[in-house]
């Protein structure tokens, strides 16, 4: 069985600074999102239970991906396919899904495509369903438990009012929620071993995609602005004796007129 795990590098959100309402993303290191890591972990767990399973990590991004992908290989992916090409820059979800789908078709044999239910940066949740549509596969989203075997899958989905248990034949696209597992950390030995695993780099041309189909040129979206909302808080900290500070807080809240029913 071949499992393709789609991964996206995102800026570490804890390290984004806001200046004059503008996000300073450049300084933040790139990491794989939590749900992407859960997708990878789930693939590796399936591999450990199912003999003859191969896990292929698939990611689109910039040159930093070459280094970043080592983490995925160390955690247990057997090989990686990286889509690196200036033509991909500025891709929106439609272009991304188009490129990933072409790559998956080029990989050829796939039984399960795993991704996170959303990226941690934009959490738009679009790439999984778009991929499923392009590849004409069923989509199973918000998955918190997954069993795979005998060409079938059984998944528990976390919906608003219920946990929904669904079954489908493979191949299928499965988007996981981060509660599905606790991703492992790679050991130093794994990281060293990962250096020997095969990594392929494909360009837009390798995938038969023109510049109009991906990247900024192929984007369906135009971002007009992207700013932090204006927010000013008083930031008054009460310090000292506990009786005093709690009383000070109650007094302040009374003055604000926010106490009382």
């Amino acid at each position: 069985m071949n499992i393709v795990v789609c991964l996206k590098q995102v800026p570490d959100l804890q390290q984004i600074r806001i200046k004059d309402r503008k996000p300073l993303v450049e300084g933040a290191p790139l990491i794989f999102g939590d749900m992407d890591k859960s997708a990878l972990e789930e693939a590796v767990r399936i591999k450990e239970k199912t003999e003859g399973t191969k896990v292929i990590a698939l990611a689109m991004g910039g040159a930093k991906l070459k280094d970043g992908i080592k983490e995925a290989l160390a955690i247990g992916a057997d090989e990686a396919v990286l889509l690196i090409d200036p033509a991909f820059e500025g891709s929106d979800t439609m272009g991304t899904a188009r490129a990933l789908a072409k790559a998956i078709q080029r990989i050829g044999e796939y039984d399960l495509i795993l991704c996170g239910e959303g990226s941690t940066d934009n959490y738009s949740g679009q790439v999984g369903p778009r991929l499923a549509e392009i590849l004409d596969l069923p989509q199973i989203t918000y998955v918190r438990e997954l069993e795979v075997g005998d060409g079938k899958l059984r998944a528990v989905r976390n919906m608003e009012e219920s946990f929904e248990v669904v079954e489908a034949e493979l191949p299928a696209v499965v988007a996981v929620a981060d509660e599905i597992n606790q991703p492992r950390l790679a050991s130093l030995r794994d990281i060293l071993r990962a250096a020997r695993k095969p990594v392929q780099e494909w360009t837009a041309a390798d995938l038969g995609l023109s510049e109009e189909e991906v990247g900024a040129k192929g984007a369906a979206m135009e971002i007009v602005s992207n700013l932090a909302p204006e927010q000013e808080r008083k930031q008054i900290i009460f310090e000292g004796d506990l009786d005093e500070v709690t009383q000070n807080l109650v007094n302040a809240l009374t003055k604000e007129g926010v106490l009382g029913r």
Partner: protein
Amino acid sequence: MAEILVFSEKDDLAFELVSKGKEFSAALNMGLAAAVLGEGASARTDEYFAYGADRVYVSEHPALAEFHAETFAEALYQIAQQNDAQVLLLASTKRGKELAPRVAQKLGAGCVTDATAVEVQDGNLLISRYALGGNTVASELIKTPHKVISVMPKTFELGAKEARQGEVVNVDLDLRDPRTRIVERQEKVGEAVNLEEAEVLVCVGRGLEKKEDLVIIEELAKALGAEIGCTKSLCTDYQWLSEDRLVGLSGKKTSPRLVISIGISGQIQYTVGIRGARIAVAINKDSNAPIFALSDYGIVGDLYEVVPKLVEALQ
């Protein structure tokens, strides 16, 4: 005439979209239609007209008996193609959110999910949503002829119902059986709690050590007449509280007059949910916790000591 097509598997959310859709329909010079799908659909059309839809497309096709994104996307695609629907407005429930990109892909359309605002600008729709994990709000335009937008529930106000009629169109859809099967549904133990309407909110995070300790939070909530909210780990990972109480990017966006965040460090995924609060208070033992910069008042201290004292001071 080109149309705006509204759909949600939840009628009350579809009515919010229809209510606002009237404005878009006038500004963009498009008709306003809705799709009502699945078993019993034909009996549910009246209110759609009352809220302002001109036409309602109805299908009780057996493949639509249960919600499968793949099948519903195909149904909406066929309806959109048959009737020149160019703008699809869906409610961003979990189902709506997985449906939107799938139908968008069929239409070759750009799509925005979890929209928090939509307004008409120069004959196009300017759509806002949170980006960069909630650090920013992105305003976006969709450049493709077809546009698919899934809008967060309660973004638009429900309009007034009017006594009016419209055209019911029974659509003929060519659908295959869904390739996913629902074999079991385990109902969640829901709570009748509506954090979006709470006036006072006490939110608790990982600073709380065990479920039993929730009692001290409950005491404070009682003293304040507050509802209790929580961060993601408390309801999703530990399941100490129901998901109805989740505040933040993946939960409720609240606007109380007072929110007290207790044992919450202040990661953006949470703080997005309290941006609307008039006064924000934080109690945390780490004086460097980012939550203090996002608060009007703060107490640095152990919640196990501060909260009971605060309850005392309130009495």
